[in-house]
Each structure stands twice: as C-alpha cells, then as structure tokens.
Amino acid sequence: MIAASKKTRQLVSIMAAGSAVAVASAALARAPFTEQELEQQMDSLYAAAQQGYDIWHGSLPSTTTNGLACANCHPDTAASNPQTFPKYMTMYGKVVPWQEMVNWCIENPQLGTRLDPNSDEMTAMKAYAMYLHRGKPIEPGLASRQTTPVVVEFGTGFKREPTGLGVDTREYQP
C-alpha cells in the first residue's frame, strides 16, 4: 500500500509537471517559421553552398600553388566523406574534424595556405559538401571505405540560377 501511494504521488506530480509545461508552451510558443522565412533560410544555405562550390572548383587562389583544387579528386564532393567526421586521421595521429581534413588537402596535395576553420569560406565548403551528402547516415569514425554523395543528375546539385548554356537549364527539383 505504501508503494502504491508512492506511485500515485509520482503520477500526480508528473501530471502536474506536464500541465505546467503545457501552460508554459502556450504562453511562450512562437509561431513556426513561415514558408517565406523557411525559403529565405534555405536560400542562404544555397548561397553558402554556391560559395563553397566555387572554392571547391578553385576560386580561392590562396588554397593552391600547383593548380589543383578539391574538385580534381572529389567531383560532386565524392569521397570527401563529411558524414564520417570527426575521425582519427593517420596523418595527425588523432581525431580531427572535417575542416582539418580539408586544410590537410589544401596544404599537402594542393600546396596552398590553410583556411581559418571558423571562416565563412570553410563554412561554405562544408555547406556544399554536407548538402550533397544529405540523407546519408552519420557514421563518425568510418575510415574503411569510400562513401558516396547523393546522386546528382544535372546542374550543381543544389538550387542555383542556371547558366543558360547547357544541361543545367532544366528546372530545379529538390
């Protein structure tokens, strides 16, 4: 009986807490983002992806002295494996974030100058790579195999004004 009344007390207190939360959320809730706001947010992401795409394809001269850019080895960000970081990298002997791997490639295969990992440029590269790996399982530490990005059928792989010159003039579908 003692146990039963304890349970009852717990139940009552949980219900009380629950109703308190309900009251609080009713009072503090803000409206969800409007469609227009969501579109603006995604457009900001696409703009970052666009900047990242350009850097990926060599638009930032400081990142290379031998002509190589990320895209030489990583078309459509393939095998850049952003969803597997942080992970242990043998060249560092420790666990590093994806941004550090990018800087390793800039400094070694590309013989360029590393980017500030917190810079807008690095964030833009990550926006591009992550967007092309959307929906892929997050597998921190995975180092045994190459992973693939999403299938990109045409264009740049993210919403962008078409050039009007070629196959990217087809309508964008997310």
Binding site: N66, A78, A79, N108, L165
Partner: protein, 339 residues
C-alpha cells in the same frame, strides 16, 4: 601462357612485397585467388600470335615546371619500360594535358617519347577544347585510327565530342576549355564519337570476318556507367551494334581513373588507372564490384594510380594486370583477371 603468368607473378612480387603478404593472408582465410575468370571469353578461331601491350592514361600535366604529375608520368613510363617481357606497344588513353595548352601537350609528348616501344594515342577532353584538337593533332596525328597487330585489329576513336555550346554563347576558347575541364560540369552534356566516326567505324570493319579479334580503345567507357561524370559514351549502343557481328570485342578506356570491368554482350570493358589522381567510385552499383580497387589513401600521393598491361593469348583471351604505383589492389585483383 604459363610462362608469362609466372613471370608476371614474379614481377608482381618484386614490386610489392607487402601485397604478397596480403595474398598469403587472404589464402589462409580461404579467399579464392589466382588468375580469376570473371567471364570466360568466347575465343576467336583465328590464331593470334601471343603478345602484350600496355596502357598509360590520364596524365593531366600542368604548365608549372616540375609539377608532381610530371614525375608520376615519368614513373609510369619507367614502369612500362621495365616490364618483362616488354609490351609490343603502348596505348595512351587521353588527357595528357590538364588545360589543353600546347606547352602541356609538348611536355607530355616529350615524357612519353622515353617509351622504348611504339605508342598510339587517342585524345581526352582536357587535350581538345582549347583549340579543338589542333595542337594535339599536330603532335599525335589522327585521333581516329585502326591497325592490325599479330592477328588483332586495334581501333582508336575520339569519344569526347560534344554539341557546340560555345558559339551561340560567344565563349572564348579558354572559357570553353574551362567548362570542359570540370568532370561534373553543368554545361556540355554527354560526350560521344558522333556520326562521322560511326560511319568510319562501320566502313573500317565492313570486310572483317566475325572471328577477327577486335580491340577498341576510347577515352570514355562504351557503356552507361555514370553519365553525370561522362563515365559513358552517348553513342556506345551504335558502336556496340556495329561491332555486334564479332565473336569477341575487348574495349579498353581511360577517363575514370580507377580499376573497373564490365561486360555487355560480346564486349568486355576494362578501365585504366591514371597517373595523376584516382577518382572515387560514383554512387551506382557495379555489375562486377570485385574489380574495385581499395580506397586510395590521401596521405600517399601516388596511391590509386599506375599503369596496366594486357597479355593476349593465341585464342584472343586477355590477361589484364593493373600495375599500381602503391599497394592499392584488393586480393581479387592482385594476380590479374581474364577477359
């Protein structure tokens, strides 16, 4: 053939002791090794005098002096020159240059001139779109060719032709080249050999008997692998149709910078490793996934690159062996495979 295989085996062991160890371990756990038949090729009745040829591909030379890709192409040439037995000739699979400039093409020709055997070349898109092949033709000759060697008919085609996207848009030659340099370029669309070469091909093989051994050599694969990266040739179905009368057709190609095998009908298809950088496997399933190489280690600058040598038997059976600069092959691939 047994001698050849034994020799190749010794070559293999001498260049990669580490790989030999992997083989032993793999054998211990019961993985089937040795020379593996992926698909038994139909053999032509017409006798081939056995010989070997090598393939070097995708050097992507930059104009910068002493660029690492120069050294890597030099290493490929040395590797082929050191092959024992020596290949009768070398096929170069296109993309000797990165930006199509004459200095890059000249540099490539100079490095490749150290080969101790004859060479035949086909163009890649990186060689072509600055001047529409003018400098390339001046240095390497016709891009469409055929010749007979020891009973085998070899055909080379230019598979990197695209529709004209530049004239209407008023692009400069350099802008056109920049568009074509991107593997995942959103502009030009699919490559092909186009009508004139299809006619040439039909005429070239018109009088050949169906048991003639055929090798066809292109920059891009003659099947739809991953069209987004032009891992395809848009008129490959027409090419396969023209060659459908032959008992056995071997297709070798560059462009994909990776080990790869496929077979469609009477045509086997084998890709060349590059001497510049390895390309990832795209997000599609392969019919023969066992022909994938190991994931390249970015900390080893020459990993996932190399050359390849093919031994053709009297029955027109090919033993394909990749010769990577580093130990990049899976156990399945280490002793080569037959096509």
């Amino acid at each position: 053939m047994a001698d050849l295989e034994n020799k190749s085996r010794r070559d293999f062991l001498s260049f990669a002791g580490k790989a030999g160890l992997t083989t032993l371990v793999a054998q211990a756990v019961g993985i089937n090794l040795g020379v593996v038949d992926i698909v038994r090729a139909q053999t032509g009745k017409r006798g081939v005098e056995p010989f070997r040829f090598a393939i070097i591909s995708d050097a992507h030379l930059y104009s910068i002096d002493n660029h690492k890709f120069d050294e890597q192409l030099i290493a490929a040439v040395s590797q082929v020159n050191a092959m024992n037995p020596k290949p009768d000739f070398v096929l170069f699979g296109g993309d000797v240059a990165q930006n199509g400039t004459e200095d890059q093409l000249v540099k490539g020709k100079k490095i490749l001139s150290a080969l101790e055997m004859p060479m035949k070349v086909i163009p890649g898109e990186h060689d072509w779109y600055l001047d529409m092949g003018e400098a390339w033709r001046g240095l390497f000759g016709d891009e469409t060719w055929s010749f007979d060697h020891k009973g085998v008919h070899f055909i080379g085609l230019n598979s990197i032709l695209v529709r004209d996207f530049w004239t209407g848009a008023g692009l400069s030659p350099k802008e056109r080249m920049t568009v074509m340099e991107m593997l995942e370029s959103p502009i030009p669309g699919p490559w092909g050999v186009h009508e004139k070469q299809l006619e040439w091909l039909a005429n070239d093989v018109k009088n050949l008997a169906p048991d003639t051994p055929i090798v066809v050599f292109t920059h891009s694969p003659l099947w739809d692998y991953y069209p987004r990266w032009n891992f395809q040739t848009s008129d490959a179905p027409e090419i396969r149709e023209i060659l459908a009368k032959f008992e056995n057709v071997m297709s070798y190609h560059g462009h994909v910078h990776q080990t790869l095998y496929n077979r469609i009908g009477n045509m086997s298809s084998v890709a060349a490793m590059s001497t510049s950088w390895p390309w990832p496997y795209p997000p599609v399933a392969l019919a023969y996934p066992e022909t994938q190489m190991n994931r390249a280690d970015p900390s080893i600058a020459t990993d996932g690159q190399g050359t390849q040598v093919i031994d053709l038997s009297g029955d027109f059976e090919g033993l394909v062996q990749y010769k990577p600069f580093e130990d990049s092959l899976t156990p399945f691939m280490q002793d080569g495979f037959k096509v």
